[in-house]
Point group: C2
Chain length 256, copies 2
């Protein structure tokens, strides 16, 4: 049952991704701003989301959907049953300015349990997927758990405002890492965690930024925790640390 859903969702993601790629030249979509001049949405975000929402309801009848641009069930107050969390185009600024470094992400939570996660690297057309005890795959290849690197031996990614506003002593964390990277897309940064390119990722994440990567990171034995609260609330935004076990300990010593 879940296996069948999984196969169809993978196919759906590849289809939706094709549309985004067809519009990469920038001539055929429209860009609007949302909360600020750097918070963009394009007609591609909206078209992707409408197709994802429509098809998920066919693939998984009776499911509820929490999605970024507002076409899902926006009034979700609990996580009972099958809940899909949808980011139709993550890294919209990169999509518009770089024509690279953006992705499409989905997660399935069942009765609140992080169950399946999907992150599509749009330009490379690599689909990272898994969960539910099945492991994590890059397309058809199983991924090994990343090495348990320390902070000092890791490249890490931190969101811009957390560094500039000196939140939770994070500039100090950045100094202690091998290097600091900023990609501007939770999809890209979560993929960096899954492949071991990054040893830690710290950002203020909304539900659709976090849920898919959380499923996959936890499936690989990585630590995923809130650092501004007692636990992660999937329905709201969280300041989240994703890290190897060792880097997580190194970082929490500095942020305490």
């Amino acid at each position: 049952m879940l296996e069948e859903i999984d196969v169809q969702v993978q196919e759906l993601l590849r289809t939706v991704n094709q549309r985004a790629l067809q519009h990469l030249d920038g001539s055929s979509y429209q860009v609007d701003t949302k909360s600020s001049y750097s918070d963009l949405v394009t007609t591609i975000d909206r078209q992707n989301e409408q197709e994802l929402d429509r098809r998920l309801r066919e693939i998984d009848p009776g499911c509820r959907i929490l999605s970024e641009e507002g076409f899902g069930n926006q009034q979700l107050s609990d996580l009972s049953g099958h809940v899909w969390i949808v980011d139709p185009l993550d890294g919209t600024l990169n999509f518009v300015k770089q024509h690279a470094n953006f992705g499409v992400m989905l997660a399935l939570y069942i009765d609140g349990r992080p169950t399946l996660g999907y992150i599509m690297d749009a330009v490379k057309q690599d689909l990272y997927h898994g969960g539910n005890g099945w492991g994590v795959f890059k397309n058809d290849q199983p991924l090994a758990a990343p090495a348990d690197a320390s902070l000092r031996d890791s490249l890490i990614a931190i969101g811009r405002s957390l560094v500039l506003d000196n939140v939770a002593n994070l500039p100090q964390v950045a100094r202690h890492a091998s290097g600091l990277r900023m990609y501007g897309s939770a999809a890209m940064e979560m993929i960096g965690m899954l492949t071991g390119e990054l040893g830690a990722y710290i950002s203020y994440l909304r539900p659709w930024d976090l849920a898919p990567g959380r499923v996959l990171a936890e499936e690989l034995g990585l630590t995923v925790k809130s650092i501004d609260d007692d636990g992660i609330n999937v329905l709201s935004s969280n300041l989240v640390l994703v890290a190897t076990e060792r880097a997580s300990q190194d970082i929490l010593r500095l942020t305490d």
Copy 2:
């Protein structure tokens, strides 16, 4: 004459790049630290440099060479004649940790004049090259001059320590941009400038980090200037701003 050198140097870069790619799996090279635990050099850096230096002396007899790992003429005190500036592997930390986002870079200065520049995106195998009034090419395709974007409408890249140490009010510059990116490789960040993905790049650059990108950026009409000194000294390190004309004006208002 210069055309002939150019053809041979392009071929040389593709050959040297193949070696770096063959060693991407990490099993067949050795890593040492230099000035700090995040300043790495591998046996690939050294092999690349030795081959580049040897072949450049054959292709351009009588030239002098300034190169990162010390196999060139390290005692250069002037820029008379043909001087090649060589970065055999830029982004060594990315090479080791990410197996991506690193490059090989070369520049030719003739009697102090920035003349030819070469930046090879190693993994994508894209060679950006040009100068001398010939224009800038990505492989065989001529690149158009990037749009003259403002700071507010640009993604920008700034080196980690410049942000963390609040050098020249650069955190404030970062706040005013559309987004802040850090790739950890001057080669990758310079390519971002050439393609228009970035509107500004600010970093403390050594001669081999700066010279190739400077030739190409200036050829495309981008601004390249020192922001800690009166002018760029090619033989020493500089705090350098590469930017569109508009972003450059916006940034210099904030850093003054």
